[in-house]
């Protein structure tokens, strides 16, 4: 469990700049995917960096499986349990081949060779990059690069994976492949924090956290947010066109689920 209790944070001393986050209470459990939504500057990326100990709170506490992120002695316990995947995969790809890049983390752990091999094979298979081991990373598509970044994180065998807008720079195909990889993380028992601008991504999460002006504007089920237009508007969010289509169909008596945000699942309920 990653537990944030009464967390406040500002960059520099509080007198220097605005408080970025204040009074955040939130917990991420293993096997759970939480989508984090909010406007630019609402504190989403700061939240991610607090969860893996890159930043520590000014007030309150962040515990990762019981370890306080401010405990300098146990920083490695935190880092080994929490992996971070950033928006731009080029910022975290270092190897000259796919397998070498993926092996970078476990190599630094000083693991035996066959254990590294096993981890790399598993991680690449988990994100759908098996068979591309010898490919040079710069020849990958953007979506493949982002999945390689996720594989590199997975090879460290973390309990939690934090993704900071992993699909922001991708075309729709790349997005779909990365989202499938994110789904796979949850299915394999990882706790997943998925920061996104896409309201549709909230539909497939277990819970949704919406940040606004540094505070919690919503924390609950996807249905409770997506099915409530007033609440969405108060959070500064709006349904994507497919969500509008689904809600119009519901208004006409069709039993389209609130979380149906893609054409296939909308049409499937129509045909039933």
């Amino acid at each position: 469990m990653i537990e944030l209790s009464g967390v406040s944070f500002s960059y520099g001393s509080p007198a220097d700049g605005p408080v970025v986050l204040s009074g955040i209470d939130f917990a991420l459990a293993p096997g759970e995917c939480v989508a984090v939504l909010g406007a630019n500057g609402s504190g989403k990326s700061t939240l991610v960096r607090l969860c893996d100990g890159l930043l520590t709170p000014d007030e309150g506490s962040v515990l990762v499986d019981g370890v306080d992120t401010r405990d300098g002695e146990r920083v490695w316990d935190v880092r080994s349990r929490v992996a971070l995947v950033m928006q731009n995969p080029d910022n975290q790809i270092v190897g000259t081949s796919v397998e070498e890049d993926c092996a970078f983390g476990p190599e630094n752990l000083g693991l035996p060779r066959d254990e590294i091999r096993r981890r790399v094979d598993e991680a690449l298979a988990a994100v759908g990059l098996a068979g591309m081991e010898r490919r040079e990373p710069h020849l990958l598509s953007e979506g493949q690069k982002q999945r390689l970044a996720i594989a590199g994180a997975l090879a460290m065998r973390p309990a939690y994976v934090l993704l900071d807008e992993p699909t922001a720079m991708l075309d729709p195909d790349g997005r779909a492949a990365v989202l499938a990889a994110v789904d796979g993380l949850r299915a394999t028992g990882h706790g997943v924090l998925h920061v996104t601008h896409q309201v549709a991504d909230a539909a497939t999460a277990d819970r949704v956290l919406v940040l606004a002006e540094g505070g919690t504007a919503y924390l609950g089920t996807p249905e409770g947010l997506l099915g409530d237009p007033d609440r969405l508007a108060r959070c500064g969010l709006e349904l994507p066109p497919a969500g509008v289509l689904a809600s119009e169909l519901r208004a006409r008596g069709f039993a389209v689920p609130i979380t149906a945000m893609d054409a296939a699942s909308i049409v499937e309920t129509l045909c039933r």
């Binding site: 630019n40 953007e142 075309d171 729709p172 601008h197 006409r252 893609d262 049409v267 129509l270």
Partner: protein, 268 residues
């Protein structure tokens, strides 16, 4: 005279072992006031086309013509903001075109207003105190201040939150009253409703070229280009595949709901 690419092609390193065609036989013609949407996957050649239209590179085959300035807004343009105030930043372009100080500042103020940044409130602000959406619009204003006949935009809303996207889309709508627009994106959904013309590229070749209405009637082009159609359109393609239904495909989710509901009769 419109901004025109006629059978334009671009080969990198022609005549060498590294010769690579980035664009082949692509034609596009945009009039002032029109919005042409260029869509394709990453690597389809759409940014290359924009560079040809801006005159940044010359085509290796075919030709590109324009009667006025075709000015480009690159991806992530806010990284190029540099001056101490927004007004000075937007005045940089017209100054470099040889306009007088007064003319340059007037053009900058007009451009800031056009992107929804009131020059009285924002003109004296530092570019480094802006939100993501404001900075993007300030960067677009810097190009608009040169009063281009054509505005070329590369993924203008990438990385912005919904309110930032909305504001940029409105700014583009206003820019269209004075300029023709060519807008490149890999996500057709956001701007397709605003487009007069659509050009779809895949590995440097034209997959579709025509009006938005023609594309809606022939949405199979999305798949040929390796693109996912907007979800609202895809729902109609899945539920109403007949040739006769294609003529009524719409991007409006409310109209689409009516079409789908009608085809299924009343719900239980």
């Amino acid at each position: 005279m419109p901004l025109t690419a006629a059978h334009a092609g671009l080969v990198y390193s022609p005549g060498t072992a590294f010769s690579q065609a980035a664009l082949e036989d692509v034609s596009l013609s945009v009039e002032p006031g029109e919005l042409a949407l260029v869509v394709g996957r990453t690597g389809s050649g759409k940014s290359t086309l924009l560079r040809l239209l801006a005159g940044l590179v010359a085509p290796t085959s075919g030709s590109v013509h324009t009667d006025g300035l075709a000015a480009m807004v690159f991806q992530d343009p806010e990284s190029q903001l540099f001056a101490e105030t927004l007004l000075e930043d937007a005045a940089f372009g017209p100054r470099n075109l040889g306009r007088s100080d007064a003319e340059a500042r007037a053009a900058a103020a007009d451009a800031l207003a056009a992107v929804g940044l009131d020059p009285a409130a924002f003109g004296g602000r530092s570019p480094f105190t802006l939100s993501g959406g404001e900075a993007r619009r300030a960067a677009i204003a810097g190009v608009l201040a040169m009063r281009p006949a054509y505005l070329l935009l590369d993924e203008p809303t990438a990385g912005l939150d919904p309110s930032g996207r909305r504001a940029v889309r409105e700014a583009i709508g206003r820019a269209r009253t004075t300029a023709g627009i060519v807008l490149v994106t890999h996500d057709a959904e956001e701007f397709l409703g605003d487009a007069d013309l659509v050009l779809m590229l895949e590995t440097g070749r034209t997959v579709f070229s025509g009006t938005r209405e023609a594309l809606l009637a022939e949405p199979g082009a999305f798949e040929v280009a390796g693109l996912r159609p907007p979800e609202v359109l895809r729902a109609q393609m899945l539920a109403l595949p007949s040739a006769s239904a294609k003529a009524s495909y719409t991007l409006d989710p409310r109209e689409a709901a009516a079409l789908l509901a009608e085809s299924r009769g009343d719900a239980g």
